[in-house]
């Protein structure tokens, strides 16, 4: 799943090194349109619904964090 998430992220922001960056939000690498694009793609890909309450930097700072969020939401579906 991690590779697929990296593919999704690359399709939205090909200029960002998602495999290695660990502070995507804290360092301002992603703006609000990027975040919403990512959420929309993840919602569609994994049939989940990422809600506003999940909009915390710690959920989007790295691929690992995003993977954890997706797995948590899939498990609660």
């Amino acid at each position: 799943m991690q590779n697929r998430i990296i593919e999704i992220l690359d399709s939205i922001r090909p200029d960002v090194d998602f495999a290695n960056e660990k502070k995507l939000i804290d360092d301002g690498l992603l703006d609000s349109f990027d975040i919403v694009s990512i959420i929309s793609e993840l919602n569609d890909e994994y049939n989940i619904s990422i809600r506003v309450t999940e909009l915390k930097p710690e959920n989007f700072n790295s691929v690992e964090a995003i993977l954890n969020l997706v797995e948590k939401l899939k498990a609660s579906n």
């Binding site: 609000s32 919403v36 990422i50 506003v52």
Partner: protein
């Protein structure tokens, strides 16, 4: 669940007024980086917007739209039993802008007149409110006015909002009739999101709020009297809750995406509308867009879009599904049959109600 069904009420007219002053989005390249402005235009679809002058208000535009509508429909003003104004840009803290328009239109004292404090969702809530009033009274005709001048409270260096905002007001005529197709309305709210779109100062919670700019969480300078939008939170709410609302509406009404000729949505931004349309499989030709010309005109935007798209189209009946969402958070949808002959083309107007500008207490 607040779903409403009105069997005997028809939307029999709509008009839109907006200022003639055009702001080109490209012109913001003097303030922000070219890359930033280009990305904004790509994502939002907004290439220009309209802005009011210093003293022109949403009630000025609403009055013009309503006056034109009453004349066009040849309506006896004494028959108007309710005038409701949905706005977050009132002329004064009190009275409500509906009172100003009531006076200017010369309506009877036998008219129920009040404001609704809502922004982008004001149109769907307004229809639900006015139709409910008509349904439980002898009111045969009513006016709903929706409009905002949000640019006046947006910090000019707020790159998240200043390029997004357009200003306009619309007037809608509702009539009680025996041959109406049903209006079905579904509204929702979530006060947990009250901070996502807010002007924190200047009202009664913090009446003496500072006008000094501060650096906000997103690095943009604003003061407490400015509109502040937490874009990511609002967008996330929209792409999850609006598709759910629409699916629930279709289920509750035993309809589907194919049953409607036109999807008149709040013109939030192009990216959001494309995401919603994709999720709901709404064909692009059924969802008119006017973002490029007018930007996000708050609660007026669904009617702005119909007036721009169908203002010169005669006699076409549109089974229309309206949807609007925003500050509160609040959101809703309603269905209605609209005849394009009842949709007036967009009116440009820059007039100001001079009597309403009170520069000194001595004038009162």
């Amino acid at each position: 669940m607040p779903i409403f069904n009105f069997d005997n009420i028809k939307i029999s007219g709509m008009a839109c007024a907006m200022p003639s002053n055009i702001t080109k989005t490209e012109s913001f390249k003097d303030i922000f980086s070219a890359e930033e402005v280009d990305k904004f235009m790509l994502m939002t679809g907004i290439t220009e917007t309209r802005r009011t002058s210093k003293y022109q208000t949403a009630s000025d535009l609403g009055y013009v739209a309503a006056e034109k509508l009453l004349q066009h429909k040849n309506i006896d003003r004494n028959e108007i039993g309710a005038l409701v104004f949905g706005t977050h840009s009132p002329d004064y803290r009190r009275p409500g802008s509906s009172s100003i328009v009531h006076k200017r239109l010369g309506l009877s004292i036998d008219t129920a007149v009040f404001d609704i404090s809502l922004g982008c969702s004001a149109f769907v809530y307004g229809i639900q409110t006015v139709a409910s009033m008509m349904n439980s009274s002898d009111i045969k005709k009513a006016l709903l006015i929706i409009g905002d001048t949000t640019g006046k409270t947006t910090n000019p260096i707020d790159r998240a909002s200043i390029m997004l905002i357009g200003e306009s007001s619309v007037a809608i005529l509702l009539e009680k009739t025996n041959d109406a197709s049903p209006i079905i309305s579904l509204v929702r709210s979530d006060g947990n999101g009250y901070r996502y779109l807010i002007v924190p100062g200047g009202a009664y919670r913090n009446i003496d709020a500072s006008h000094e700019n501060e650096i906000c969480h997103d690095g943009i300078e604003r003061n407490l009297h400015n509109s502040i939008m937490q874009g990511t939170s609002v967008f996330t709410f929209t792409i999850s809750d609006i598709p759910k609302l629409m699916k629930d509406f279709w289920a509750l009404t035993n309809t589907s995406v194919d049953d409607y000729d036109c999807y008149a949505f709040h013109q939030a931004n192009l990216y959001i509308l494309q995401q919603i349309a994709k999720k709901l499989k709404i064909p692009a030709d059924k969802m008119p867009l006017t973002l490029s010309k007018y930007g996000n005109t708050s609660g007026a935007s669904p009617i702005v879009t119909l007036c721009d798209t169908f203002g010169n189209v005669e006699g076409k009946e549109l089974n229309t599904l309206f949807c609007a969402f925003g500050v509160g958070l609040s959101w809703g949808a309603f269905s209605a049959k609209i005849n394009t002959s009842d949709i007036l083309p967009i009116i440009e107007d820059d007039s100001v109600f001079e009597e309403g500008i009170i520069r000194s207490m001595k004038e009162l």
